[in-house]
């Protein structure tokens, strides 16, 4: 693909459609982020106390897991461009594994909260916590399924696998990172 084509507004990496999806998702989350920040500014003390019930270390480890997974997906796309298919497949497998690690750790956190009686009706903070993190959790799960099919397509079709499909799937995965990078500080660190 020529540099001029790449630089075209209608041809971002992964294709136009995935970027429209990404920005619509970011817009939706953005509205929720602003809502969370606004209610947090109004009920600062309550939000602070509720935020203290979250484990920052677990949040931090989850961030590292997601970022590491995103890193491996980026390496996988790069390896595919170099026609190193075995490497690509390996990178994607590890990325999925780290993604599953994120889901599992989040699952433990959810279990811990439910056992402590901290459900959605516990407080305003936890309405945001449950809605935003659960919605994000589902996105990560969908991302893993997409990575699985991309990897399968690479194994089956070898060099005929479509680069744009792979980039689009990778972009969806990175979108989960983007959302988490703005969600994590406001839920776990700032209040």
């Amino acid at each position: 693909m020529s540099i001029a084509t790449q630089k075209s507004i209608s041809n971002p990496p992964g294709g136009l459609l995935i970027w429209i999806v990404i920005y619509l998702e970011l817009l939706t989350y953005g509205i929720a982020f602003i809502g969370l920040a606004y209610y947090g500014s109004v009920n600062r003390a309550d939000f602070h106390n509720d935020s203290l019930l979250l484990n920052r270390t677990i949040g931090g480890i989850n961030t590292v897991l997601l970022l590491s997974s995103g890193f491996l997906v980026a390496k996988g796309v790069f390896a595919f461009k170099l026609k190193e298919l075995t490497k690509t497949s390996r990178y994607f497998s590890w990325a999925m594994l780290l993604g599953l690690g994120f889901l599992t750790l989040k699952g433990f956190e959810y279990y811990d909260k439910i056992m402590a009686g901290i459900s959605m009706d516990y407080s305003s903070f936890y309405i945001f916590y449950w809605l935003l993190t659960a919605f994000h959790w589902v996105h990560v799960l969908v991302g893993i399924v997409i990575l699985f099919f991309i990897r399968r397509s690479i194994i089956k079709k070898q060099y005929q696998a479509n680069l744009m499909d792979i980039e689009a799937g990778a972009a969806f995965w990175h979108m989960c990172d983007l959302i988490w990078l703005l969600l994590f500080p406001i839920l776990y660190l700032i209040f």
Binding site: S8, Y23, L67, G70, V73, A74, K75, P185, F191
Partner: protein, 80 residues
């Protein structure tokens, strides 16, 4: 390219560790501001390096930067 991805990853992990460590310090405007700033920087690094937005049209780059800075500014204004 490969080296850039590696460097970006190291920067992302370092910023995450620093951000989590700083959150344990007593709350202040500067700490809050720094944590938010690091989150926005990480957001832009992922977009530009991992999603390869650096190769895309300026429109897509601008949209991501504006979004990150806008959300970061709103966080800071409301929660400082």
């Amino acid at each position: 390219m490969n080296r850039t991805i590696n460097k970006s990853y190291i920067a992302l992990i370092l910023l995450t560790v620093i951000g989590v460590s700083m959150s344990n310090l007593p709350q202040s405007i500067s700490i809050t501001g720094l944590i938010i700033m690091m989150a926005v920087i990480k957001f832009i690094i992922v977009g530009f390096q991992f999603m390869e937005l650096k190769k895309a049209n300026s429109f897509w780059k601008a949209l991501l930067i504006i979004y990150g800075i806008l959300i970061g500014s709103i966080y800071f204004i409301l929660l400082k």
